[in-house]
């Protein structure tokens, strides 16, 4: 089932097969979430964008002009919805929201755990936290692009382009530039 073509999944879901719909959800949730979070929306707003996007797809299943590109359709829909939500003035979040989330989740060193495992886990957690912090400090366009590129499972170039409203040809160079900035940011926070 998971290997099915997107257009087959759409067709089966349209015929009422909930399992096929769930495969679509598994395959594209990372992408939809990455778009919503890329717009610096708070958790509640990002959740609304994510949910609205899937509800829309449910109504549009039989109306997609290209069912094989359902991932790009979801990415575009999530982007539009995220923009709307970001413009809703009543929904402003503090800009350091992301950072706070990151720091709140760092595991404490636990002496009860096997010493080596715990130490390694702590180092991993610290490194991840440092990386997350550096990532959160990147300019918006870099955060949006990288966030979508690393969505799991990995989106196609067409889906990335739809998520960012960006020509496919400029994805590669922008990615390289943004990763370089991330590395620089990491080096700064290490000092």
């Amino acid at each position: 089932m998971a290997d099915n073509e997107p257009s087959d999944l759409v067709r089966a879901a349209l015929d009422g097969d909930k399992a096929s719909w769930e495969v679509l959800v598994q395959r594209y949730s990372g992408l939809v979430w990455s778009v919503a979070r890329g717009y610096r929306l708070g958790a509640a707003d990002a959740a609304d964008v994510y949910q609205t996007t899937w509800l829309r797809l449910a109504e549009h299943l039989g109306r997609l002009s290209n069912p094989g590109q359902v991932g790009a359709w979801l990415a575009t829909t999530a982007r539009h919805e995220a923009l709307r939500t970001a413009r809703g003035a009543a929904r402003v979040i503090p800009s350091d929201d992301v950072t706070m989330v990151a720091l709140g989740h760092v595991d404490e060193y636990s002496p009860e755990r096997a010493a080596l495992d715990a130490e390694q886990a702590r180092l991993d957690a610290e490194r991840d936290a440092r990386l997350w912090l550096a990532f959160s400090g990147l300019p918006d366009h870099c955060r949006q692009l990288l966030r979508v590129m690393i969505a799991a499972p990995p989106p196609s170039y067409a889906e990335i382009a739809a998520a960012l409203d960006m020509p496919v040809g400029s994805i590669g160079p922008t990615r390289a530039r943004c990763l370089r900035r991330l590395r620089e940011q990491m080096a700064e926070t290490a000092e």
């Binding site: 509800l55 797809l57 299943l61 109306r63 590129m149």
Partner: protein, 156 residues
């Protein structure tokens, strides 16, 4: 400057950090799976054709205060105009079917629905509703070619 290998390694690290700090919440995955059951197969879809949040520029007269948002949906010759107001207790809706039609209006919010009626002038109102995804299902009284219409989902 960076080798392709270094770039990929950094992306892998970032992917791990995202999985740790900002994964798709499990309850959202469940909600997306449930979205399937909200699918309507017996109604015409009214697409979103206007949203004052994105379709009006700074000089437009339509643009009001941010807590008052205008939405318009269209299915064939029927349009559904909505004014959404934001208050501390939630969202309020004032709607109008054009041309005026009497209808039973079901306001669907993420996990429940509220029923109201559009009067003979096509007007209806509802609220306060929870902020979040919302869609209307209008069953037209004295149905012509369009018996039922559902709107696109929007986040209110």
């Amino acid at each position: 400057m960076d080798s392709e290998h270094d770039e990929t390694a950094l992306e892998d690290d970032l992917r791990r950090a995202v999985a740790r700090f900002d994964p798709v919440p499990a309850e959202l995955l469940a909600a997306a799976a449930e979205a399937f059951t909200w699918r309507t197969i017996d109604a015409e879809l009214a697409g979103l054709v206007f949203d004052s949040l994105v379709d009006s520029d700074a000089s437009s007269l339509v643009r009001g205060p941010a807590e008052r948002r205008l939405l318009s949906f269209q299915a064939g010759s029927l349009s559904i105009d909505l004014e959404v107001t934001s208050t501390a207790s939630g969202r309020g809706l004032v709607g109008q079917l054009v041309p005026a039609r009497q209808a039973n209006v079901e306001i669907r919010v993420a996990d429940s629905a509220v029923a109201t009626e559009a009067d003979e002038l096509g007007r209806f109102r509802a609220g306060p509703l929870p902020a979040g995804p919302m869609s209307l299902r209008c069953s037209l009284v004295s149905a012509g070619p369009q018996a039922a219409v559902v709107t696109d989902w929007v986040t209110i």
